[in-house]
């Protein structure tokens, strides 16, 4: 049930953000962009090194 409430809150926030962004285009939009950048930065810090080599070496045998 806590899940439901959290979801609802998230939705309300999203709606507010959209409204505010429409009124005064900058601060909230920038905040959102910052949040996304933070997430990508965090993910960058755990991504395997050398993407090309990793992807090339990732070979599996078929299964099932």
């Amino acid at each position: 049930m806590a899940e439901q409430e959290r979801k609802q809150t998230q939705r309300e926030e999203t709606t507010e953000e959209v409204t505010e962004t429409a009124e005064a285009s900058s601060p909230v939009g920038e905040e959102l962009a910052e949040k996304i950048d933070d997430l990508l930065d965090e993910i960058d810090s755990v991504l395997e090194e050398n993407a090309e080599e990793f992807v090339k070496n990732y070979v599996q045998k078929g299964g099932e």
Partner: protein, 497 residues
């Protein structure tokens, strides 16, 4: 009223991807064996018995009988866990089969528990490797190079339902449910047309409508008929057209909606099936369009989109549910299903908090925007792969969870508990509890029996041909009250025949 059997027992089997960093020549069979053998949560290394059951003998209920001696396949790495699950090496992958459950929410929880088991096993296996080497386990279904491995679902179905009925109704359902079950993938494989991003990991690999194969010429509806239960009453529907999912909501939806459709088929309430002109082509065409605009051709000449097809199933089932009432879990499934289809209809990326493919697409698009990457950039392929890493400190699904971006159905504690505790209402309870308490006396196990060595001349075999027998209410007190396996086996009764 007739007994409802469809989906009354269900579970999943997942083959995990495995790789070792900085050890390009690694042997996946040995690495998988190392993972399984390293798992500390295993109380017993138990042989899996592949013996064929004889229906007349096995139709009886609980009790023991003398076990035949020479029918155990040896040499395979196989562990039966205290939660009733099976952890083993299949082909060149570690595989986790959940214990049987009677509830799709509980089954989803046990599917998640499999990730914890593999995460712990991989961590333990890592200590046997050189310092620069790292063993990685991915809950995915493809290496992006044309090799696929499975995530299968199993549902108990009444033998009395004609298989043709299942095929007619399930084919369009399976084609369309990909928009709910997909885990997303960059690019295409297996000779399918090029695409930047597609909804599922597996669609490119389906080449037949109906068939027995699982490793090549994969069929939309698999005909493997191995019920692991009384074959006169039951069939086990072995569903191979699904992706391994990380999202808890998605695993629940996949299992619960498929079960609802099976129930409707069994009850005869689905009406005339929608028939598609070319189901195999429809599978990849649906998967290749994350905008969900693609329509597929029906035999009557009209066209229909995957989302319209999903609405058709949902509305038909919901109408009957309104008239006849539904269980809590089915009601929850119907509500979640409706909400998810609404989100997908408005903007697929708005389902990023609950569907792996939408979450992955959203993440990839953010990367593309920030770093100006084209779809062929290796970094995007890496993000695609690493989304599935079961290591919670590395897996990108888990990073999204940590950032509060994925909707959860379970707490970490619930998942951890499910990794060691069996479901209450099926024979998995008997299996799991016996492994926990009498593990050293079990010489072999499979889904429908346990074989004990209680120090007497003959081994004692306890058949479990009814998946819904052997639960806590039936055997809990018996196990609690038995000090030894011999006590238990004799308390169960039976004959030395």
């Amino acid at each position: 009223m007739t007994e409802r059997i469809a989906g009354a027992v269900l579970g999943t089997e997942t083959e995990f991807g495995i790789t070792i960093r900085n050890q390009p020549e690694f042997n996946p069979v040995l690495a998988s064996s190392l993972v399984i053998n390293s798992y500390a949560g295993s109380r017993a290394r138990i042989q899996w018995s592949y013996e064929e059951e004889s229906p007349g003998r096995d139709a009886r209920g609980f009790g023991y009988e003398p076990a035949p001696m020479a029918d155990f396949e040896s040499g395979l790495v196989n562990v039966v866990l205290t939660n009733g699950a099976r952890l083993y090496v299949d082909h060149a992958h570690p595989e986790y089969s959940t214990p049987e459950s009677t509830d799709p929410l509980e089954a989803a929880l046990h599917d998640k528990a499999g990730e914890i088991v593999l995460e712990r096993a991989a961590e333990a296996a890592g200590s046997a490797l050189a310092p620069e080497e790292r063993l990685l386990i991915h809950k995915n279904n493809s290496d992006g190079k044309g090799n696929s491995y499975g995530a299968h679902e199993n549902y108990l179905v009444a033998r009395s339902v004609p298989f043709g009925e299942l095929v007619r109704h399930l084919t369009p359902f399976f084609v369309s449910r990909q928009i709910v079950t997909g885990s997303g993938k960059v690019g295409s494989e297996n000779g399918r047309p090029d695409v930047d991003f597609q909804i599922t990991q597996r669609a490119d690999f389906f080449e037949e409508e109906v068939g027995l194969e699982t490793t090549l010429k994969r069929p939309i509806v698999n005909t493997r008929d191995e019920p692991h239960a009384d074959p006169t009453k039951y069939r086990r529907l072995h569903v191979i057209i699904g992706d391994a999912n990380l999202s808890e909501t998605q695993i629940f939806l996949k299992l619960a909606t498929t079960r609802l459709v099976l129930e409707a088929i069994e009850a005869g309430t689905l009406g005339d099936p929608v028939t598609l002109t070319d189901p195999v082509e429809s599978v990849w065409r649906v998967s290749h369009d994350p905008t969900l605009a693609t329509t597929i051709r029906r035999s009557d000449g009209s066209s229909i989109s995957a989302i319209e097809l999903q609405w058709h199933y949902l509305e038909t089932i919901a109408k009957h549910a309104e008239m006849e009432g539904v269980s809590d879990v089915d009601g929850r499934a119907l509500a979640e299903w409706e909400e998810t289809l609404e989100l997908l209809e408005s903007d697929p990326r708005s389902a990023a908090d609950r569907l792996d493919w939408a979450a992955k697409l959203d993440l990839l698009e953010q990367y593309r925007e920030r770093d100006g990457l084209t779809w062929t950039d290796p970094k995007l392929r890496l993000v695609d792969l690493q989304y599935h890493d079961v290591d919670r400190s590395k897996g990108l699904y888990h990073q999204l969870v940590g950032a509060g971006r994925m909707r959860r159905l379970f707490t970490d504690d619930e998942v951890a508990q499910a990794a060691i505790t069996p479901p209450d209402a099926t024979r998995a309870y008997f299996r799991g509890r016996c492994v926990e308490k009498f593990g050293s006396a079990i010489v072999a196990a499979n889904w429908d029996s346990l074989i004990f060595d209680v120090g007497e001349d003959a081994l004692k075999r306890v058949p479990m041909m009814e998946p819904r027998r052997g639960g806590r209410s039936m055997v809990g007190a018996l196990i609690d009250g038995s000090d030894t396996a011999a006590d238990l086996v004799h308390a169960l009764g039976g004959s030395d025949g």
